[in-house]
Amino acid sequence: MDSMKEFLWLIVALPFAGSLILVIAGKQLSRLACVIIGVGSVSLSAILTLLVGISFLQDNPGGKPYVEAIWQWMNVAGLSPGIAFHLDGVSLTFIFVVTFVGSLIHLYSAQFMWNDEGLRRFFIYMNLFVGFMLTLVLADNMLLLYLGWEGVGLCSYLLIGFWYKDPANGYAARKAFIVTRVGDFAMTIGLFVLFMNFHTLNIQAILTAAPATWAVGSGIALTTALLLLGGALGKSAQLPLQTWLPDAMAGPSPVSALIHSATMVTAGVYLIARTHVLFELAPVAQTIVAIIGAITLLVAGLAALNQHDIKRVLAYSTISQIGYMFLALGVGAWSAAIFHFMIHAFFKALLFLGAGIVIWSLDEEHNMFKMGGLWKKLPVTFWTFLVGAASLSALPLITAGFYSKDKILWLSYASDKGSVWLWLAALAGAFLTALYAFRMVLLTFFGDAKKEPSQRPGLMMTLPLIVLGILSIVGGFIELPGDMGHFTMFSDFIEKTLPVTLVTIAGHYTELLFQLISGLVAVAGIGTACVFYYNKPFPAAEPQRNAVQNFFYRGWDFDLLYDALIVRPVIFLAQIDKNDVIDRFYNGLASLALWLNKLLSATQNGMVRRYAIVLAIGAIITLTLILYL
């Protein structure tokens, strides 16, 4: 067992190998074989993660990271990144979530996608997705991280546009890729700055060298942190680059589950946590992270409340929950952010898979107002979905979401970087979360049945829900607040890698008070939802909205804004000069030459009289010149 961790590379290699086999084997492969390879590779990876994790924890109780270099990628003028993996508490947590939640989603997809003609293609992309995400979180240098980063972007593009025949899906896919690339533009420049200053892109080397080179609050540290933040905002769909995520649900539901829980959107959280030293050197940048998080969680929460498409509710909910993670990162609550990431991955995967079943069994019906009464017909889905929604709403004491979100709420006030405003925003967000979560549950599963399910999920689809449901409850008990048992297994583990949060407000009573408030707010949110939506006879159509609700429904009109400011000018620019003005110049030259040719050839017209005149004139001019000059 002691050498088990040396198989770290295999965790990453397995999903890649899975998709490679699926590519090479081609069309001959039966559906069953596709599923076995697709699901099997990621599941093996998950099992291996467990073994590697255990071996890693046994070997070094001190939490010393384990680095495994596979090969030297390149070596140019001091830039010598390797294909090398770095395992520590943070990356272990991430690969654990990625592989486990990933394999559950894969298992679910096996049945969900069984009748789709693109089954093989689907698993190729999904395996690649997991492979790139693992590369991202295990990379020991920024360049390899960037490889995973872009690879994840590619797979999201491929999967969002999976049903490629509908141009709308293609549009959503491109939007996702392009918007995140805008963020990556900033991140790339961040990499240039890092390399220029530290002559390496090795993450640990940079983190060690940075505090010695840069002063706290220096301009260069601020610039670098903001540039990296740009990348994180794009991938994690935070303001102002959040617009791609709501559209990203154009892909099959398991894809949404994967994008929103374990992969892709959490990459930004990971990046900031991973480069936390740079953000600590730039307190302004870190404050910006917190503020963006706080604003995003409110903006997205209000948007989620006004959706009627069940997946769009969940999409905005993801943006909002990632907002919480950013808030936590911004106030230096590093382990709280990672904790919420993990718990969020459980319940958000659960909710998306549940929503997937609902949509799948109702023949692609997305509108919650056309559902209803499903709790009897899809019992497993209902109960697990309820657990997920409760966890999302942070229902006190029993759900994992309570423990992870409460920690962020408390620290957004109590940490040395916290403030009462951040706490209030987070609290308002908590109310909204509970409200829209239970609005969703009540509309979908209660009230009159407006449509009969045409198919029922099998065990392969419900089993992942049950597992995730259990995790959404018990996952919280590995980290209990100071006033309730003070069990800190998770943060102890993470804080071997990330700094401890500095708490400036002491006293369990204060903490208890804050917990009471946040608990009450969550319950109040659920209660409000019940008052407005429990067994209310809504018409089976899009709900009526007033102007403000419409504004929220359209995601605060960011799309309109970007359309007017960026998209249309770009298209206009492209249109006005399609044929390249510069080419006109050369064609003009050619026309000029032709014209001159005609002009001169006119002189050669074969008329002897004309020749004689020209000859005479020429002679006169020459003679004049000779005589008078």
Binding site: M74, Y146, G151, Y164, P167, Q575
Partner: protein
């Protein structure tokens, strides 16, 4: 000897193919394939067996033979890491060009392959020549058969395109020839030795204005070839109208001769003038990146679109060359190889698609993935390469170029980095318009055949290999790149030392300087007149 034999081999096979074409259509193809394969084998042999990297033996192999001794013209060929890479690319893409034309070309097959092999021979000559006269000669040799390839086997608007191609390259080539003669004369005046030998011409002492003007002649020829904005407009027409093999060679190899010329001749021969010119060149590079991207986005003709992508990608090369540091220059070398492969792939896809549906209009395509999944998957790989996805060769190239040029010029590099976003936009548009979305027409067409899959698989493996194991290429070019950087950077400070090292004695020094001044004056007068 082997080097000369390589070129002779290509020419010989070309003539043989022409002859064989009188009897049979398949024979010329086989002869060409065999000829280029032998070249590839020799290159691989050189790559594997010969030591590189030590500065003393920059040249892996060289060959000198007197040609026109009266004018100091030699057949001087030499191969170093850089030219070895370019030769490898030439033979690799050469083989694929023959294979891709296997079914496409059925008219005058023998003459086609004659031209193909002569273009390749010319390109090999350009990459190997160390005598400026021979270099110019090779430059012309690759031009004329290319003209025929476009004008005989091209598409509907081929005459216009081939004239345009010919005039642009010939016109700019003429300026280069004048510069070569100027350099020859200056060096002759200075030292009494009239020679076209590159190594002797290195370090020729010149007045700055003279150097700048002479450099400009070279630079214009090279950046026209590199299709830098505003000299790019021949390229979209030539690429669009050329047969597939022609497009592959144009994009994959001919453009690279421009970059190669800048690295091999302009920077070492005119280090100071290059420094003066650097800001302009970098600016032109950035303009090319963005303007090319913008035009690519607007195109509806698939081949034209890919052609503008080349304009954009060549902008990175220009930016990187004039950053004058190892990292950017290594990136440039990588870009030359990777772009050859990725754009080759895109052109083969565009060509085979054109062959099947008789149109290049992306408005009439759409939804082709359902019918052509193999082609779609291959298209995806090369589209991703062109937008700079890490793991593929182009990313390594662009990242190195940008990191290197960031150290030289931050503002321009930041603007150039915007090109990566632009690349995403135009690249994804290809996928959407061709392979995704609704089917515009019910095409009944076949997917890639085994032969075509073979070609594409080679290209995919190559681009992945470049992306994941770029060291294999970068170590080969390292010594050459360092040598160039040293020349262009070192000359500034050690001008006087180098002059002392010159073989000529100090009593000639005075004469040298006066004659240089005369030259400078002379050129000045000329420019005044021309203004």
């Amino acid at each position: 000897m082997i080097l000369a034999a390589l070129i002779v081999l290509l020419m010989g096979c070309g003539m043989l193919a022409w002859l064989a074409g009188r009897w049979n259509n398949t024979l010329p193809r086989i002869i060409s394939l065999a000829g280029i394969s032998v070249q590839l084998l020799v290159v691989v042999w050189l790559w594997l067996t010969h030591q590189r990297g030590s500065a003393s033996t920059l040249w892996i192999m060289s060959y000198t033979h007197s040609w026109i001794p009266a004018f100091g013209i030699h057949i001087k060929l030499a191969v170093d890491g850089l030219s070895l890479l370019m030769l490898a690319l030439t033979s690799f893409l050469g083989i694929l060009s023959v294979l891709t034309s296997w079914k496409e070309i059925n008219k005058r097959v023998g003459f086609f392959h004659f031209n193909l092999l002569f273009v390749l021979a010319g390109i090999a000559g350009v990459f190997l020549s160390l005598d400026l006269f021979l270099f110019y000669f090779s430059w012309e040799v690759m031009l004329i058969p290319m003209y025929f390839l476009i004008s005989i086997w091209g598409n509907e608007n081929r005459t216009y395109a081939s004239y345009k191609f010919f005039l642009f390259t010939q016109g700019s080539g003429l300026l280069m020839f004048l510069s070569i003669l100027g350099l020859y004369l200056v060096h002759g005046h200075n030292t009494g030795v009239f020679t076209f030998d590159y190594e002797q011409l290195l370090g020729t002492v010149m007045a700055p204005q003279t150097a700048f003007l002479l450099m400009l002649g070279f630079v214009i020829a090279f950046i026209v070839k590199l299709s830098t904005v505003p000299f790019h407009s021949w390229l979209p027409d030539a690429h669009t109208q050329a047969p597939t093999a022609g497009s592959v060679i144009l994009a994959g190899l001919l453009l690279k001769t421009g970059a190669y010329g800048l690295i091999r001749f302009v920077l070492p021969l005119f280090p100071q003038a290059s420094h003066q010119f650097a800001p302009v060149a970098m600016l032109l590079g950035v303009i090319s990146i963005l303007y090319g991207a913008k035009l690519a986005f607007a195109q509806t003709d698939l081949k034209r679109l890919v052609a503008y992508i080349s304009v954009s990608h060549m902008g990175f090369i220009l930016l990187g060359i004039y950053a004058f540091n190892e990292m950017a220059m290594q990136g440039v070398v990588m870009q030359m190889v990777a772009h050859g492969i990725s754009t080759g792939g895109l052109f083969i896809i565009a060509g085979t698609l054109h062959e099947r549906i008789q149109t290049r209009d992306i408005g009439q395509m759409g939804g082709l993935w359902a019918r052509l999944p193999k082609m779609g998957a291959m298209g995806l790989v090369f589209v991703m390469a062109s937008l700079g996805l890490p793991g593929l060769g182009n990313f390594v190239a662009e990242f190195l170029i940008l990191t290197g040029s960031f150290m030289a010029n931050k503002t321009l590099t930041i603007i150039a980095t915007l090109g990566l976003v632009a690349a995403t936009i135009y690249s994804l548009r290809i996928m959407q318009k061709v392979f995704y979305g609704k089917e515009q027409k019910q095409w009944t067409i076949a997917d890639f055949s085994i032969r075509e899959m073979g070609i594409m698989t080679c290209l995919v493996i190559a681009i992945l290999w470049l992306g994941l194991f770029p060291s294999a290429v970068l170590t080969v070019s390292r010594a050459s790149v360092l040598e160039v950087i040293e020349r262009v950077e070192g000359r500034d400070k050690t001008q006087s030392d180098k002059a002392d090292v010159n073989p000529r004695e100090t009593d000639h020094q005075a004469i040298t300087i006066t004659s240089v001044n005369e030259q400078g004056q002379h050129w000045k007068i000329n420019t005044k007149n021309s203004n």
